[in-house]
């Protein structure tokens, strides 16, 4: 059995003196589309931030293709291809869509291919091509999310982590974005998605973890014949 693509092993961390994650473990490898679900404030975002290097772990480890990246410099993690799209991200509000996307290809690996990738991003999100000369702060929530994801794609991700990509969007936009993410997965990029919407979660992932109070309390395969209602009950019953 080969080493998993990304492995978080017994990770504990928090902010200041407040612990948030308690020896949490998840794995991306056997399943190439995994999800994190759970109530707000219970550590999903913190976990992603620890993986991408924005927060330092207190204990435990994180392995990217077998190499430890716990506490590594975010720039190195990006260079290795692990790209994190943060939640409700306004990216760079006073720069145009085109500038934002171009910045996505900042890292060396991505720079060479940036022209080609830009075309792919515009193909995926035609609205962005229309608005490419507009400042990001003038865009709607949905369009901003597209820019965030687009910039992440420009970075040539080997693994893509999305934190609540459809948060705060209208149902129509949610579906649109969900389809786009499905297409990204289909193109072969392994993904970790944090989502509140169970239905989307089931569409976008093969396997997901239920995170409650900084710990994994349940794991499911998305194709298990568990119906949505049961999962919702488990999910809501925890609060």
């Amino acid at each position: 059995m080969t080493a998993p693509l990304l492995e978080v092993r017994a990770l504990s961390t928090g902010y200041g003196r407040t612990p948030v994650l308690h020896q949490i473990s998840i794995e991306l490898g056997q399943h190439r589309r995994i999800g994190l679900i759970g109530p707000n404030g219970h550590g999903k975002t913190t976990l992603l931030r620890a993986i991408s290097g924005l927060i330092a772990p207190w204990s435990g480890d994180i392995f990217l293709e077998g190499i430890s990246i716990a506490g590594a410099d975010p720039a190195k993690i990006v260079a290795a291809g692990l790209i994190h799209v943060a939640q409700a991200n306004a990216l760079f509000p006073h720069m145009t869509v085109a500038e934002n996307l171009r910045l996505g290809a900042y890292n060396k690996r991505a720079r060479a291919k940036s022209g080609e990738t830009l075309d792919q991003v515009y193909a995926l999100f035609p609205k962005l091509r229309e608005r490419r000369r507009q400042d990001c702060r003038t865009l709607s929530g949905g369009e901003r999310q597209m820019v965030s994801i687009g910039a992440a794609l420009m970075a040539q991700p080997q693994i893509l982590m999305l934190d609540e990509p459809t948060l705060g969007l209208s149902p129509k936009l949610k579906t649109e974005l969900c389809s786009a993410i499905e297409r990204i997965s289909e193109s072969g990029v392994p993904t970790i998605v944090v989502e509140q919407d169970i239905n989307f979660m089931l569409r976008l992932t093969d396997y997901f973890y239920l995170i409650h109070q900084g710990q994994v309390t349940a794991e499911f395969r998305a194709d298990q014949s568990l119906d949505n209602q049961k999962i919702m009950d488990m999910y809501l019953g925890l609060d």
């Binding site: 975010p74 306004a90 720069m95 910045l103 996505g104 900042y106 970075a155």
Partner: protein
């Protein structure tokens, strides 16, 4: 019609001195604004950077220093100030960036830094006044009044430098990275931008701009350890008036302030002008905390 003549007669020297002042303020204020926009701190040492720019240039250029000529002096000065900016960031800003009260802490560390550097300058070069050579000797006639070529050069050079800076920020990778870091540090990190290096670069550019302004000023004013204090305070006024966060606002405001000062000095004299400018500063801050074009 005599009053029209009077206005016209007054207009020329006012216009000229106004533009010269404005050009220098634009250089100073832009450096200050750059650091504020990118790092979120207000650098109280910006004035001493200007002073040191003049001193270092003098040291290398003047016969009583190393006598290597003005070109060498200027080149060394700009390079040295850029290096100083990097060092400054490393020692006085970077270690404190995580703190909640970083703005206040940075005021204190940069104030301490200014204190340190000003007294170092005093120790190294002494209080006796010095002056740099003008870049271009002689005068020319501009709009009917004579102005030194050096001052004329300032008027031309400042917008060119600022244009170059703008182009750098807009079109180059490191320039875009600087803008990005100022707008969303986390996103910049997540795209692989080395934020610490960007901070160092920003400080280097800021210090070099101040140093350059110092070199230009050093030829038309006297070089003393405290020569940068007043320009620093003017830069404060310019940056706030223009609105923190707006590059264009800073430049517009620099020219406005330069002219206001020139007009006021002509009609009310230098001493009152200073007081009036500060009073104006306070009023602006109260009425329009975001300045003319601010967006923070």
């Amino acid at each position: 019609m005599a009053w029209i003549d009077a206005i016209l007669a007054a207009a020329q020297p006012i216009l000229v001195s106004g533009i010269v002042l404005a050009s220098l303020y634009a250089l100073m204020a832009t450096g200050l604004a750059l650091v504020w926009n990118t790092l979120g701190i207000f650098n109280f040492s910006h004035g001493i950077f200007m002073t040191l720019g003049a001193f270092v240039a003098w040291q290398f250029a003047d016969a009583r220093g190393y006598g290597l000529g003005l070109s060498v002096g200027i080149a060394v000065s700009v390079a040295a100030l850029a290096g100083l900016g990097v060092l400054f960031n490393r020692v006085l800003i970077a270690p404190f960036l995580g703190r909640k009260d970083i703005v206040l802490v940075a005021v204190m560390t940069t104030l301490a830094g200014a204190f340190f550097l000003e007294n170092s300058a005093l120790l190294t070069w002494g209080p006796r006044i010095k002056q740099l050579e003008r870049i271009l000797p002689g005068n020319i006639k501009l709009m009917g009044s004579a102005i030194s070529l050096h001052e004329f050069l300032i008027i031309i050079l400042a917008p060119l430098v600022l244009l170059a800076l703008w182009a750098f920020l807009k079109w180059t990778r490191p320039g875009s990275a600087i803008r990005a870091v100022g707008q969303n540090r986390d996103s910049a990190l997540l795209l692989g931008i080395r934020v610490n290096a960007i901070y160092a670069l920003t400080f280097a550019i800021s210090a070099a701009l101040a140093g350059g302004a110092g070199v230009l000023l050093g030829a038309i004013r006297f070089i003393t350890p405290t020569m940068g204090t007043e320009p620093l305070l003017k830069a404060f006024i310019v940056v706030i008036l223009g609105g923190l966060g707006s590059f264009g606002g800073t430049i517009v405001s620099a020219y406005l302030v330069g002219f206001m000062e020139a007009i006021s000095t002509y009609f009310f004299g230098a001493y009152w002008t200073q007081a009036v400018m500060f009073g104006l500063f306070i009023v602006i801050l109260v009425v329009l905390p975001r300045g003319l074009m601010g967006r923070d």
